[in-house]
Assembly symmetry: C2
Homo-oligomer: 484 residues x 2
């Protein structure tokens, strides 16, 4: 039983002043330390309307350095948001490390109200809470401090509070007819909220349920919880939750027949047929608004670029975009590593091709040590959840690993080195990566084992023969697009 929370005694004005002064000083110092730290803070405000969510946010703006605060408040979805997975709008808004994001009418708001008002059902509500749990866990795993404040009022207190809000021209807007209706639904609201609190509370993204009726005591309580949590988190980073992907590394790559090849004439025919089919399928997808995400990974010189070019050549340039993924820039590094991919999730029947992708986390970042062991091990699950969210929102997801033998790679490197038109494709890094072939191979095998899903499948493509690889990619995409 979460609700109602124990009643808070109001603090006398004089005592409040003293208490606040010390508290503010403590919070300011903590905020300064936070700025140097490498994690963001999320303060989620939810609960009964009129229980002081807005006031708390205003107060924090007054107390703290506003340059490192950001309010994340959500009104009606725009159509760009509505066309994408539900959590897209929150992902694209992530505060950067060192900042405090204050979430109002955030990810809990719509699912809760929709269910209370009968606009959704138990199953949908449960799924939405599940999405939220995964989202918050990803943030926490990435180092974020997540505190969720549930500000509560009894039915009688809310009625009284709304009456006061209505009486004041400065606050009348915040007591909308909607709220009076909530009051009517108060009992149901409370019981659904119980479920919500139960389901989404965790040790790392805890709910703090507060009596919202005494303004001063409530502010002090929030501020103290925040200060404590910050002190704790700054003193001691949370233990990294390590996942050990089970099972032995399988040998999928070795089983691939790298001898597969295509004659030029057959290649031409099948390429043309495939392109024509893809064009039709893509146009159908556009009409139905079903978007597609294609991921291309593979060894250096495996032929990703050539395969992608043949794939998109017949398509209308306005309907797709190819995104080459390089090292993250500083805006990207300042956030969760998935943020920069969330930004580019397509909508409205678009096709987005990622030339390299989020799998860098478990490939180059693992092998080169840019990600800690815990980070890349955790990434398998994070990626599966990320792709699941895309798939569940109606986006088709498909991933290609283009495979070549080390000998073929060497031959291509040497050809590149000798050909002035291709020399630019070859870098020192390519040679260095080549020396770590075995490490990469292990990483690829693990990646395939842990992130293959029926509706976001990995397709292994034998790439020693470029013609074969290009046609194989094209036909696999057609297959996948026509399968739904």
């Amino acid at each position: 039983m979460w609700l109602p929370p124990p009643a808070l005694d109001e603090i006398k004005k004089s005592a409040y002043k003293n208490q606040i002064e010390a508290l503010r000083r403590r919070l300011l110092t903590l905020q300064q330390r936070l700025r140097e730290a490498d994690f963001p803070v999320f303060l989620v405000f939810a609960g009964v309307d009129g229980a002081g969510k807005h006031e708390t946010i205003n107060l924090l703006y007054e107390w703290l350095d506003p340059r490192y605060l950001v309010t994340l408040a959500y009104a009606q979805e725009t159509d760009e948001e509505a066309a994408r997975p539900r959590m897209w709008r929150y992902w694209r808004d992530l505060p950067v490390r060192g900042q405090i994001g204050m979430v109002l009418s955030g990810w809990y708001s719509r699912p809760l109200l929709d269910f209370v008002k009968g606009r959704s059902d138990e199953k949908r509500f449960a799924r939405q809470l599940d999405e939220i749990t995964r989202f918050e866990r990803m943030l926490v795993d990435d180092g974020a401090l997540v505190l969720k404040f549930w500000m509560h009022l009894s039915a009688e207190q809310q009625r009284e509070r709304l009456r006061r809000l209505m009486d004041d021209p400065l606050t009348v807007w915040s007591a909308q007819p909607r709220d009076w209706q909530h009051l009517h639904l108060y009992q149901r609201f409370v019981s659904v909220s119980e479920t919500l609190l139960d389901t989404t509370h965790s040790g790392t993204a805890p709910w703090i349920v507060l009596d919202g009726s005494p303004p001063r005591a409530r502010q002090v309580a929030v501020a103290e919880h925040l200060a404590l949590a910050l002190e704790h988190r700054l003193a001691e980073p949370p233990p990294e939750t390590s996942l050990t992907p089970g099972g032995k590394t399988k040998k999928r790559l070795a089983k691939l027949d790298l001898g597969a090849s295509l004659e030029k004439s057959e290649y031409r025919t099948r390429l043309r047929e495939g392109q024509s089919r893809l064009l039709q399928l893509h146009r159908i997808a556009q009409q139905s608004g079903q978007s597609t995400v294609l991921v291309f990974e593979g060894w250096d010189a495996a032929g990703k670029g050539g395969a992608i070019r043949r794939l998109v050549r017949p398509l209308d340039a306005r309907s797709y975009r190819v995104l080459p993924i390089a090292a993250p820039n500083d805006e990207e590094r300042a956030r969760h590593y998935l943020w920069r991919f969330w930004r580019h999730i397509p909508a409205n029947g678009h096709l987005r091709v990622f030339d390299r992708s989020w799998y860098g986390r478990v490939l180059v970042e693992r092998v080169e040590g840019f990600a800690t062991k815990t980070q890349w091990q955790r990434a398998y699950e994070e990626i599966v959840e990320f792709e699941t969210e895309l798939v569940e929102s109606g986006i088709r997801v498909m991933k290609f690993w283009i495979h070549i033998s080390p000998e073929e790679q060497l031959a291509r490197f040497e050809e590149r080195a000798a050909n002035p038109l291709k020399k630019w494709k070859l870098t020192e890094e390519d040679w260095r990566n080549r020396d770590k072939w075995a490490d990469y191979e292990r990483a690829v095998e693990d990646m395939l084992a842990h992130t293959h899903q029926a509706d976001a499948p990995w397709v292994l493509v034998a790439g020693n023969d470029k013609r074969h690889a290009r046609v194989a990619v094209l036909e696999a995409v057609c297959e996948h697009l026509s399968g739904h």
Copy 2:
């Protein structure tokens, strides 16, 4: 007379192969040099449908390093785009320095077709071309290389070309019924295009009009133009176009009565009245979808933060955002300095408060030498044009300079230094800036002189008395919002 362009002789296949090899090598080398350079390239493709725009883009993807190419192709506006100034979607898409952006169905497309088809009139068309001219000039002034290719076909050639496109399943989509209709409108299309080419051609953003009928000769022509322009631009940066803002520096600041002050009780009353009025006005603006941009500039410790907090306190957190502007990050530095502000232009009745702003270009960047003299001098006009575009799209713009005397600043610095709750607000930089008071004062006067506009006005606020300043800001905003 631009159209038709002189006919191009087709190149024989064998000769083409040799020509292309040398050309590709040249372009690759240039692209590599471009990557190290500090400007982006815009290749704008326009002209008659079927004249080879798509094919040219595909070819460049094949020839060049695709990681530094980006296609900017525009379909129907999303509602987030439609709700903002017309050029917003292009601003938010700017390629970064070192990249080549290839623009298809870009900023010329809609104005041209709308006018040809009678969906807009001469006046609107002229205004749109004017917007485009200003946009391209800003890019060029910032260093961008802008090349615009007009690919032409005669009516007969287009008919023939569309027939061929229709016959091929791979290209049938690109010959849409729309295009046949254009053919019907061909004569009008050509005459309107003449106007467009005339109006928007300039030495620094030139149109290159090409016969699009012979595929190989056309590709070679585009590639050669690109290579030449790149060579030229890389060899010799364009002379900076210097603007000398005329007239003597006026003494607006000195005329401000810094003695203005308010009693506490009057302050309270007027603050409350102002907030209540602002709330109403803001809600009306929200309902009518009219957005507002407020800019706050002022001396360090002038009280910008406090004024902003009092201003937004009564508002629904979902309806406004306060954006503190610090030094640009690397994603921002890689683009035109206005890009990061274009990103944050509000829509749908939102209020956006910039705590410091694009005026940094003519204040801190001028005084500290982060911008060259040419850059900051040019910025006055750029900023006026930027704000004009906002205003013309229906956004209300207002700018505050909060002024204090050097003595008052010193007193506040000393108070901050002594108060543990405010110490964080004071930095070494503040003291350094203070030493340059006279330089900043001159910069402020110039800024006021060159960027004050009737519908994007500067409001000077006497800030020695905080109560006076807060009320003055609040009441000025109300005045401005109720004025339309």
